[in-house]
Symmetry: C2
Subunit: 250 residues, 2 copies
């Protein structure tokens, strides 16, 4: 499977990489338009190439909605995870592809086109992988040592919500960052770069593939309210191997 | 000048790029140590190579402090702008080099090693440049259209300060982001990717070169308190061509 999806992701990444490099002053006047164009272009590319190479020809994507026949399986696509970063000139964005079967995610791929990093896990596989090499979550088990990412930008209502609900982590972790791009933040939990990621607003498209990657890398994933993980529920709390009990006690 | 500094920056960037790719779970246990090592390595590399190629052999750098003879000119170095991003797996970090003469910045270079983008301006030059091509700030002149970056992470005290002092921008801009890496954020103002950058804590090392680049790209730079720009004063407010009056009225 990876052999078929990987070249599609690398080619789609080239579309994002080229558009990111070109985005300069005169185009920034309408950044929303620029992104919508790129989003649709990558989405169309992914759908047409997957249709050519894979038996499942049913899709769900943020821009296009439902595409193809209603079947037991469908691809869940996020053509541009980290839109605001893309616009603001921050190369922290990617592409997410998940294959859902009977309501469960069975394959997950996240591609970072600027660093050429492809994350992957499948329900059948033992482990999670970055460019084919196994990755694992960190084992930091105390908040004062932990690097925690929250899914916020400069919006006081959202920031207050995180602080009210996760103040113990917000104020006590070693370093906290507010970062957009849920798929990549989850992959950074999976590879042990950060110890936890907390986002009340992450979409199914952004989180479906990467949550599977976190789980197969030894991490724990829950819905934002602490209930058992369902990728179709908005929001996520993902942690490494050492912090789940600490965070659930907050 | 650029011909001499550019290869030094690209070689130093290779040190950062390699270390960023290697930083995985088992090393993340002591992220501070990892970064201090990389910081010192890049710093030592920059100093030794500049000493070989340039008559000014006096330096100021965050890690090493003052290096070399006390002369009218000195190099101000930031070997790793965006430390926390580097640790957290976010490829938004860079290297900053400024040449100061009699208290003024006369040359400024910022290098983003992941995207291979070299920003440059000199007091003598007409304009600012990205990989040799001229760049310019945006002309967005209304806050509701503006993309504004503030220099905060998940720290409520800092966030409240920005909100108290810049609430008009915080709440009314099109999109606000909290992003570390002052040199790169300033360069994104210079090239028109963002419309303003506001940071009360940016260091001389992080801001000296990039502020010159913003000014030569048509932007406005002030101290955080609105007083005339002095790169030795902590903090910065940088804006495009359209917003200075709006922001100064807040």
């Amino acid at each position: 499977m990876r052999e078929r999806i990987q070249p599609i992701l690398r080619d789609a990444g080239e579309i994002l990489r080229a558009a990111f490099g070109r985005a300069v002053a005169h185009e920034a006047k309408a950044p929303g338009d620029l992104v919508a164009d790129v989003d649709r272009k990558v989405e169309g590319f992914l759908i047409s190439r997957i249709v050519e190479t894979h038996p499942c020809k049913s899709f769900w994507s943020e821009e296009a909605g439902s595409v193809g026949p209603a079947t037991e399986s469908r691809w869940i696509l996020d053509p541009l995870d980290g839109t605001a970063n893309f616009i603001a000139g921050v190369p922290h964005f990617g592409i997410s592809i998940a294959l859902e079967r009977a309501g469960r995610i069975v394959e997950g791929y996240v591609y970072q086109p600027i660093t050429d990093e492809l994350y992957h896990a499948s329900e059948a596989s033992d482990g999670a992988f970055l460019n084919g090499e196994p990755i694992a979550v960190s084992d930091t088990d105390t908040l004062s040592d932990a690097l925690v990412v929250f899914g916020f930008s400069a919006n006081m209502t959202n920031i207050h919500r995180y602080h009210d609900e996760w103040g113990g982590a917000f104020d006590s972790c070693r370093k906290g960052l507010g970062l957009l791009a849920p798929a990549l933040n989850l992959c950074n939990v999976a590879r042990g770069r950060i110890d936890a990621f907390i986002d009340f607003g992450s979409s199914m498209e952004g989180q479906a593939a990467a949550a599977l990657i976190v789980q197969h890398a030894g991490g724990t994933v829950q819905n934002y309210d602490g209930s058992p993980w369902d990728h179709r529920t908005v929001g996520v709390v993902a942690t490494n191997a050492g912090l789940p009990e600490t965070l659930s006690a907050l």
